[in-house]
Symmetry: C2
Subunit: 297 residues, 2 copies
């Protein structure tokens, strides 16, 4: 069984499509690698690539793409709305199939080491790969952005995990492992945003809810309703159905009903299979029983 | 997007593994084709191959396999417990990805035509491909078995769809399209088989229940409970959750509870995704949102 890891590298180029294509070319036509998507945003001046592959193929392609980004992007003249600190800003690795977060951590360290040795780009390990608690959160690492990095990486607390000298042209890159993230929103039959916010507080980790749930209230103005908008940061630990049932329960308190939900973007098959298993009470179900699990590369 | 069709041909050889391997070889190492499984049973003297592929690759391999079976199997000396009428007994085609039952019907007709023209094996189209209502059911077509076929195919009602002369060595083959079948069993907290049988009658098509559900009561003696054992013959029309909720409702009448369920063998991903969609009330969900849908060959 092949090991499959997803990688979603972010590059600080969202305007020159020639340059974007050249960076993305590193992920095209490669064995054991599949380019799923790439998007760019002119205001953010940033592009995001989604690619899935075997660890070694992925590692090679990602390192080559960072090389191309180093050649084509000059951070000394970069401007854009999205916070950024490097030509290759961040490289997250996510386990997809027959792999664990631990293997992604290992991969992130190998890639980080090589980015410094090959290109002299300093690297922070972040999220699950972080070397200290205060370095888990990407926005904390990136605070001060490219312009503040030369100074920041001299602070004891913010020494990069690989490298010690600032790279003027390419800045600094964060590399790390994270769990697959599911954007899961639950709709309520009220236009009262306070209720959505109150329920969000009950289910989200930071204010006492589920460990792997981030949540906030959002208005859907065209529909005249509100929703509890969630990021499920590890569906293998906090399942979609857990937050869904909790929101139903909390909604009752306000005389409000759950009227539906939505999943935004990609979702791992097992997040939904796990939900079906719960509601049907399926015993001893094995992922190998899913026909499509045999059809994946 | 590739079209993927599943095929589960049954061959009348379950003892001579050399012969079985030679038949199965037709599905190995072929482009756009993947052998998922093959099993044989000595008592039944029969083997079952599970293969998935693009329509053209599948068609070619299946026709070649029938040719090998024709060479290696002599029906005049075949005996086994399982009913059978040909060296290649039955060839079902099942839509898996980016295909419809209609395309599988078309494929079954092309294969049937070629089996007669190339090998002079008479062919019945069955299930969704059947040319008349009385020819849908395989067991009705096969009634009388190999030994009775020479006579049977002379009857007006049982003229083959392709061919008109009996093939002594290879017998007769059924080819047809069918929907993916899910074996779904729901467990009850009673040892009373009558209750499982009564509930089965309420949910199964033949006695007034759901159109694409076959059901019967089964005792799980080691656990001291009974189950409603179902074959879901088209989960896209009759969903798993529909029968599950109906069984819960019927169970109440007998003071009995549903305590779990099981899925036996393979299940198409969408049968479970569909269930998760129902219970979470997910709006506007697209199969392309499933990460793994992009990883299939």
């Amino acid at each position: 069984m092949k090991k499959l890891i997803e990688c979603v590298p972010n590059f600080s180029e969202g305007r020159d499509t020639n340059k974007i294509e050249k960076i993305v070319d590193n992920f095209r036509g490669k064995k054991d690698l599949k380019l799923l998507d790439y998007q760019w945003d002119e205001d953010h001046n940033r592009s995001v690539v989604t690619v899935v592959g075997e660890p070694n193929a992925l590692k090679e392609a990602v390192i080559n793409a960072v090389g191309t980004a180093q050649e084509l992007i000059d951070m000394t003249s970069h401007e854009g709305q999205h916070p950024r600190m490097g030509a290759t800003d961040v490289i997250p690795f996510i386990p997809v199939k027959n792999t664990t977060v631990e293997e992604c951590i290992e991969l992130s360290k190998e890639v980080g080491k090589e980015l410094w040795e090959k290109y002299q780009i300093p690297v922070f390990l972040y999220e699950k790969s972080a070397s200290a608690a205060h370095r888990k959160n990407l926005s904390k690492i990136r605070k001060g952005q490219y312009e503040g990095m030369e100074e920041k990486i001299q602070e004891e607390k913010w020494r990069p995990d690989f490298g010690d000298t600032f790279n003027k042209k390419s800045g600094v890159t964060a590399v790390g492992a994270r769990s697959p993230l599911v954007a899961f929103n639950v709709n309520l039959d009220t236009d009262n945003i306070d209720i959505a916010n109150k329920i969000s507080k009950q289910v989200r980790h930071i204010s006492g809810g589920f460990r792997y749930c981030k949540a906030m209230g959002v208005e859907l103005k065209d529909r005249g309703i509100v929703q509890v908008s969630m990021n499920m940061t590890d569906y293998t630990k906090t399942a979609l159905y857990q937050t869904f049932e909790a929101i139903k329960m909390e909604a009752k308190r306000w005389g409000v009903n759950v009227v539906g939900s939505e999943i935004v973007g990609l979702v791992p098959m097992m997040a939904l299979v796990n939900t079906a298993e719960y509601y049907l009470g399926i015993e001893d179900f094995q992922p190998e029983q899913i026909l499509e699990s045999h059809l994946m590369e």
